[in-house]
Amino acid sequence: MNLSRITVWSRAATLGKGVRLAAGVRRTGEEELATHLQPRRLIVSSARSLAYAKDLFLGKLNKNEVFPYPEISHEELEEINQFVPPVEKFFREDVNSKKIDEEAVIPQATLTGLKALGLFGIQVPEEYGGLGLSNTMYARLGEILSLDAAIAVTLSAHQAIGLKGILMAGTEQQKAKYLPRLASGEHMAAFCLTEPGSGSDAASIQTRATLTEDGKHFVLNGSKIWISNGGWADIMTVFARTEVLDADGQKKDKITAFIVERAFGGVSSGKPEDKLGIRGSNTCEVTFEDTKVPVENVIGEVGGGFKIAMNILNSGRFSMGSACAGMIKKLIEMAAEYAGTRKQFNKKLTEFGMVQEKFAIMAQNAFVMESMAYLTAGMMDRPGLPDCSVEAAMVKVTVPYSIGCVFVQVFSSEGAWVCVSEALQVLGGVGYTKNYPFERFLRDCRILQIFEGTNEILRMYIALTGMQYAGKILTGKIKEMKRGSVGVVLEMLGKKVHGSLRRNQDLGLTGQDGLVHPSLTVLAPSAKMLEENAVLFGSTVESLLYRYGKTIVEEQLVLKRVADTLINIYAMTAVLSRSSRSISIGLRNHDHEVLLANNFCKEAYFKNNYWLVQLQKGSPENNDANIKKIAQAVLEKRAYICSHPLDRTY
């Protein structure tokens, strides 16, 4: 039974063209859907394997998911190649990022230009007036959009989360009514979830929607904070509590998603927040006071808003990787320009090892981010079942790949921060001034680690989702072990001894039929490292489940390492897959890619080994106990409690 449930979650489908095909299919009720799809899933699951990331928790490399590296068709490539230059030209010539940052507003002319380019409806299907681009192509555009963070945030608040609810789960009528005007940019969208008392904790949403007596409207009351585009949006996806009768006939509060037009009345937005970065974007409080929302404007079904929110958030993340990569590529150019001309001690900056190292770090980070982002986007674009309903697609698209998206977000947000900081460092004091855009990039990219779930929360998500998955499969085995079943213990021991004797694990990446490019000296060592890490990771997860069971939810420091290791393994996979493809088809500078891939794999391998060894230790040995104690002492007094070094007792 469990297995069938997992398969529901693990199914992959596409957001792009696949969904468009499926969009015409009538929505079915939840139960009907379940009975309708369940048997088919079981059959399908044996054919199509589970998502890659989750399988890593079992120590398996589901290589067919990630090898070969996804490609797009010639038509798509041509389409995107036609599309990119005008956008690039627009950003180069018509966008004054410095002014946007200083005046904290995006000029109307710029917005009009963006609308004319169709950038307000990148993923909206063509039948609704959008560009109808796939995730991969969206990611490609993200690279350019990121050159101005304020515009990127405005656009992504509009379409990555703002209108996504309608796109994913809206009815035909809702789509027809709202999407065309949203896609053209005539209306702007916003996503209203966060509340003063409910940041990451969605269970504490206070905004309430009550059904009117005639049953035709919901009356919406409450306020939402930190709403991107809150001041400009005409159409908002709002999440509110509604009373729902559950199976036992009892009244229960459930979260429901609504499409709210500003024109409904009672919607007011506060003063835009004065922010550190992305200053041109509009972030403010939005208050709903007796806003009457027609029942037709419920997205999905009443009480089903939670899943919608989850899926919207999870699906919007992958583009961050390409966006960060785009930004870093730009930074590399700017910093290299400076380093190439500036002379100190009669030497160019480029000749100093420590400066060179910074460029290597930047290039490597950009490479890894790019690889991860396009791998994830490609997996999301892979065609799914053509006849599945929209709802099913919605659930499936995001859940298996949401971990991948989260990897991308966590890795790239942190990588971007490091890279921007390094680029600024190359320029030294000059970079710190407002004469150069580095300080703006630094301020702008700080938000990446915060919004759409802070990186801490995303790490928990990664680790716990995988733990849950692995736990379900391993529970029986672990219980047997705890009971002292000789057979299982011997099997485990045998595995361990086997593993230690043959340090090199063979998961089929290398060798005769290996998926990584077979050239012995090039990628094979890195692939071996990946295999070794993956196997060790699997056994570590098993021992963690053995040790902590379901109480692992409380072990955040452990989960952090689990998540970090997994992100690294995923990144290793992505770079190996990408550079294998590059060698195979002979892309320009593929030797450089191999260099970057090998360098990254080596670094990640050492880090992973360190974390995995720490994970196998108890809290006193791996410093977790100390960390907790320090924090507790400080937080108890809410101050740094050490005596001053100049204090004396006598």
Partner: protein
């Protein structure tokens, strides 16, 4: 030290002593009288202190006596007895915590005389009475929590030498004192605030130990004379309540009473203050409402950002279970605390009345006053409104601050 050794040995002058200025006439008189007294009785040194300080027992007069003794006889005859007597008298003069006075007293010892000169002297207990006296002096310092300073050390070296018992005592004090000085995580200041409102503020935050808790002065102390000439005094009421307590109180079942209990004592060094609690009986298990979490919002693969719980059938392994087996005794919740100048029911009713402003539920909850030392029965009051004037039945007279038991806690060390 080296200079002391160079001086003639019968000139037992310490540095501190030499600097002193001449004394008043009265003292001169005593100086003249003293030798005769000294001959007559063994308890003369006590007498000396008594006589010098007939009117005032201060540091100045104590110092005078010490100076008088030092000056009267170049040989410092009877200095051991004098020091013992002085040590005993110190608390009376209020100088028991004054390092300067201890040093001055130490200065009474003749210098160099008791320093062992050869290895035989070093081996045996050289001048045991004097050494014992020095140790006694240090011990008294220790008992009052006074840390010796460099001057003390110099004096001890001059008097007893580097390897004497008093010097050892000094070293031990210097080893342990700094270590224990900050051992108490909740130190009480030597000087407590004089103002009862400030004192109540200090005491309440000390008991509550909650950084979120807010202290409110519900009523300032006031003494006024009305037109009719009656003196009206209004005791202070200072209360403390944390947001958490407020939330707990808001969830209180209005059919169950809350109790105002007290007074309970709190000792702050030598001062005892009393406080009152607003509390309730523990909630019976059948009434306990389990906070139900919507599994859709917190369950695995469901949570918006990450699951709050995993649906696994695996528990923590024994090897990683660091929790202790603790028997938990459930107590009733404490909703608020207060300190007041008057422990009568009227004053406390006023407190509850003011608490009602931030905790509206108190208006609907029956409140019982269980004040100690009363008649022993429960004094009830209707839950809704209190009028302090209508409740003449005064509670027990409470001495708010008792300066008693000074003797008992005198020995309390730092």
């Amino acid at each position: 030290m080296s200079c002391a050794a160079a001086e003639p040995r019968w000139l037992h002058c310490g540095s501190a002593f030499c600097k002193n200025k001449s004394d008043s006439e009265e003292l001169q008189k005593i100086v003249e009288n003293e030798p005769q007294k000294n001959d007559r009785s063994l308890v003369t040194h006590d007498d000396l202190f008594e006589r010098t300080s007939k009117d005032s027992k201060t540091k100045a007069s104590f110092n005078k006596v010490v100076e008088v003794f030092s000056k009267k006889d170049i040989r410092r005859r009877g200095h051991v007895e004098f020091i013992y007597a002085a040590l005993k008298k110190m608390p009376e003069f209020g100088v028991e915590r004054d390092i300067a006075v201890y040093n001055k007293l130490l200065d009474v010892f003749p210098k160099d005389v008791f320093v062992p000169q050869n290895f035989i002297q070093k081996m045996f207990n050289h001048y045991p009475r004097q050494q014992e006296c020095g140790v006694q002096l240090l011990e008294q310092m220790e008992n009052y929590g006074i840390m010796p300073n460099v001057e003390t050390k110099v004096l001890l070296v001059q008097i007893f030498g580097k390897k004497s018992h008093p010097m050892r005592k000094y070293q031990r004090i210097m080893y342990w004192f700094p270590k224990f000085r900050n051992a108490n995580p909740f130190p009480v200041p030597r000087e407590l605030p004089k103002d009862p409102v400030d004192l109540a503020h200090f005491s309440l935050t000390r008991i509550a130990n909650d950084l979120d808790a807010t202290v409110t002065v519900y009523q300032h102390p006031l003494t006024d004379i009305t037109e009719t000439g009656e003196e009206i005094s209004q005791p202070h009421i200072v209360g403390i309540q944390s947001p958490e307590q407020r939330a707990l109180l808001a969830k209180h079942n209005p059919n169950r009473p809350v109790f105002v209990e007290g007074p309970f004592p709190l000792w702050l060094r030598k001062t005892c203050v009393h406080y009152y609690l607003l509390r309730a009986e523990p909630v019976p298990p059948e009434e306990k409402l389990e906070e139900e979490l919507d599994p859709e919002l917190v369950g695995p693969e469901q949570s918006l950002f990450y699951p709050q719980l995993l649906s696994l059938d695996l528990n923590r392994d024994l090897g990683d279970d660091d929790s202790f087996d603790i028997d938990e005794v459930e107590e009733g919740p404490v909703y608020a605390m207060c300190m007041t100048g008057g422990g009568d029911q009227a004053t406390l009713a006023h407190w509850i009345c003011r608490l009602q402003e931030t905790n509206p539920i108190l208006g609907r909850v029956p409140t019982f006053f269980r004040l100690e030392a009363g008649s022993g029965e429960l004094q009830t009051a209707a839950g809704v409104q209190y009028n302090p004037g209508q409740n003449p039945q005064a509670g027990p007279e409470m001495e708010h601050i008792t300066e008693q038991e000074a003797a008992r806690s005198q020995g309390m060390k730092q």
